[in-house]
Structures are given as C-alpha cells and as structure tokens.
Assembly symmetry: D2
Homo-oligomer: 162 residues x 4
C-alpha cells in the first residue's frame, strides 16, 4: 500500500544548473507526508494542537538518480516501512507523474524513481523529548502498512519493543 | 475573469513566528501564474524553448494584511490588469480557500485577501533584453481580460503604445 | 547613515533562468535587517523573548533592475527612512559588493542597485496586534537616522502622531 | 584538516516548529562547500565556465541530533573523506559557533554536531554525464586531505581506480 502525491516543479524549485535544487526534494517529500497524514485524519497542525506531539525528521538518506526539471509533473510515492514505539520509518520515491489521480492510494509501481528518500521520523512532545506515537495515529498507520509487516509489528509493540 | 489556483501551507512555508514567511507568498503567486499560463497553452519551460522569450518580474508590490498558517488551504486569485507591448500587469490575491475546483476559472469574489500582490512582468529574450510579447501569447491573454479593458487595450496596441 | 551587509549568491538562491529567484532578494533583505538590529543591540529572537513584540513586514515594494548571478558577492544597504509610533519604513538596495568590511556602517553610495526594496515594518505583540515600538529600540533607531529627518520625527512623535 | 564556515539562522531558515526546517541544513552545507572550493581557488560558477564540469550531489545521509534555532550562530565544519576518480566524499558537521574566524581552516574539534551530513558528490559534464575530476581541482583537494588518507588515495588513483 502506497500513497501517491502529485506536485509540479516551479522556478522556485530549480537552480542555475537548470534542475531541481537537491535540498528541495525534501520539501516535496514533506508535502507528501503531510497530505498522507491528512488523508488518514491527522492534519499535522491539528495533531500538534490536540495531542501536543509532533513528528520530526531524525535521520534521512537521499539517493539522487536522475534530475527533475522545470515544469515536470512529479509524484511522491510514500510507503510506511516500519512503525516503532516512538518512530516511523518511511520510504519515498520522487518520480515523473504516471497520471494518477490527486491524493490517490494505489499499489502499482509506476516509473523509476528520480530520487529515493528513506527517513526515520520521531514523535516528540512540546519540549522536543521523544514520546510514544499517539494510539489513534498508530492504529491508522498500522492499517496502511503491508499486512505481513503489520502483524509482526503489532506483536512487537505489544511487548513494548521499539 | 480570474484564475484560481489552490495551494496548501506546509512546514517549508512557515517560519518561527508560526506564520507563512513573507517572501513565500511570491512563490505561491508564481505557481499560480505558471498554472494560468499552462492552462492557456503556454507552459513556461516550453515557451522559453520554442520562442526564446521568458517572462520575468520587473516590479512588485505586496500588501500583507493577515497571515496564513500551517495547513491552511489557500487560493491564489490571478487577474490580468493590463497588457502592454512588452509587459504584463498582474494582480494576485492570496486568500483562504473557498472550496473551488482546482485550476478553475470563475468570476466571483470569495473571501477577503490575506495578501495582495501587484506585479509588472516583462518579456525578455535569452540575453535578458526586453522584447515584445509573442503574438500567440498576447492573443490568448487578451481573451482572458475583462471585456472593457480588452477593447481599450486593443486600440492602444494597434497604435503601438505600451 | 546606512548599514551594509555582505552576502553571497549560492545555488540555493538561483533558479533555472540562471539568476537569483526574485523572491530570494527578500531573504537577503531580512538577513541585513536582522544584522542591523543585532548591531544596534536588538537581536530579534532575544527582543521577542524580552519585550514580547516582534517586527513584521506589512508592505513592500520591490524594483528588479538587474539580476544577480551565482557566486556574486552582494551587499544589502539598509536605510531607515521613517520611524512611526508603531511602524518603521526601511529602504534597502541590493548591489554588487564594493569590498566594504562585514557589518560596517558607512555613508558612501557605492555601485548602482540591482534591486531596490522599500518596506513598512509594523511592531506587533504575541497576538499579532499592532503595538508601539519599544522605547529602547526607538531610541537606538532614532540615533541611526539622518539628522534632519530625526529632528522632524522626534517632534511628530512627541505629539503622538504616527 | 577541516574547513570551518560560519553562518547564522534567520527567519527564512526556521519553521513553525520554532527550529531550523530540516531541509535547510543542506543549504548551509552547500554554502560551506562553495566557500571551501572558493578558498581553494575553485569558485563553482567560474569552474563550470572554464572546465565545463560541475559537482553535483549524488547521495547524502543526514543525522539530525539537536535543532538549531532563530539567531543561532552556527558553523559548518567540512572534511574531505575520500577522493575518487569522479567522486568526492564529504563529511559536514553543523554545530554552534565556537567563535572561529570566518573562512578559517583549523584542526580542532569544537562543540558537538547538531546535524551530521555525509555526501557523495559526482563530477558531471554539461550533459550531466559523470566525468573525472579536473586535475587541477584534484591536486588542490588532495592537499587538504589528511596525510595518511592522501598517500593511500594517490596510489589508488595512479592505478585508475575510483
């Protein structure tokens, strides 16, 4: 199960090399995660206001394979790779658009990734300290995980492991 | 006649004051102009490749009335105020979304502007020199102008005035 | 009396047109105002923490005259044009560097402006409401204003006008 | 041997969480690499103009340990970890400023890293194809590498390995 978020390359995203500035793929990726959480019922600003916790990026790895250019229609494909007690591992591919509907959820593979991003997000409270994922968020995320991984993780989580 | 472009406020757009960083409204505005031109058949990268000319911002004036915040759904409403020989005057309002369809063209007024932007765009060639608007672009733009202004401007343009 | 802030054009600042993306001159300008206030003893984060008030951009006008390019050494020249009860009018020129010392204060004119920016800043409290400039900040700013203007404004302010 | 580049956190760098937006550490890192190459005699725009080759980011890994905040004085410490035939491996730490001189080169360790970045840069030609590092650039970079690593790599390079 993956989430697909379409976005466009505008001048603001490009640099004098004529391609998307490397750091800006992280902006595309964050937009996609934001919309995936919104679709799951967890708009981030509201989640922070209601639960006092936020998701923050702890670690990321980015593989730049092919550049995107001005006016390219792109898609960010987001997969939840793992759900820990206080962390989320996310994999995101930025690829040229395959013409899918906005905000859709589908299982196909699509075009090759231009940029591949792996992130570990951590759940933190207002003081920046790590805290457990809110139960309501966890239960939604578990439902969008692949089935095999989901059952394994639920066992782990019931034992309090991360 | 106006063009309405929806966009969302993500973390990338905000600053430590908790609101959209002032310069970023210009990014929203450029996205909207890009999509308006695309809808009119002039995607900017293709226009530069085919005609050798580009539109560049020569002057802008921005009135910041109310701040937008994280997760706000916004709309940029774009109006062509005037078409010169080598320039375009554009007015753009950034407002909270009224729930219109993506990329729609409509004539209503909607919510009050959070930010109001007036720009003069100039048409330039590859050397950065001012040149006349491509005829095909002009004819499209004239058609989306208000009728009264359009007739006046056609007269002016026929006399070669700017 | 002017404040001169040097900065450099990096890839992050450019776009696919090979020049500085138009909105980014506002970033350069904000860096310069931040350093001018710091030099005057008012680092912005500390000012917000201590007085509860912040400066926010209410209006700006930008004239783009010549583009800056990758690796250009630039200077932002900042002048305080007017001091109101709750507002500051600032004029800032972005120009190629004339080789002045970092953070210096000097009175010469230097090279022609690439980009000229005029801003009105407003002083606001934590709720975003307009408030009078903190007295300590005002007294510092009055001292860096041109003498003629300064005396005129002091008279006005003593009558409570803005 | 390391290169130390000071920079400051401005509003443009922060987000509504009150801290530096995660992607922007890559901007700080690129500024530092740009200034390190300039100090070595290879301003990037001039290098592209003269040799037709550019350095591009192929891969990066970022570890976010502690957040930086508005008005923080930061340093980016850059080390060349490895020099291949067509690639450079770079390690960069973003840390709070230890008060070193601008653009200085020093060997001390300083405060703990807030953010640690490891990058692989690739040398590409105007068509985006991988090419060998220009000999003049390589000879400069070898001189700023740690001695032990340098001798090993020179042997490797003489055998044409990457």
């Amino acid at each position: 199960m993956t989430h697909v978020f379409p976005t466009r390359v505008y001048y603001e995203d490009t640099d004098a090399g004529g391609i998307v500035y490397h750091a800006h793929y992280l902006r595309f990726a964050e937009r996609a995660r934001n919309e995936m959480l919104r679709l799951a019922g967890f708009p981030h600003a509201a989640m922070v206001a209601q639960t006092g916790v936020a998701l923050t990026v702890r670690h990321c790895e980015i593989d730049f394979r092919q550049p995107a250019r001005l006016d390219d229609a792109l898609e960010v494909v987001t997969r939840i790779a793992d759900i820990g007690a206080a962390t989320l591992d996310i994999e995101q591919d930025v690829r040229r658009a395959a013409g899918l509907a906005w905000g859709g959820v589908e299982a196909t593979t699509g075009p090759a990734a231009l940029v591949r991003i792996a992130l570990r997000l951590a759940c933190i409270n207002a003081q920046g300290r790590p805290v457990r994922l809110p139960a309501a968020l966890r239960s939604v995320l578990v439902n969008v995980q692949p089935a095999a991984l989901r059952s394994a993780r639920v066992n782990n989580l019931s034992k309090g492991q991360d």
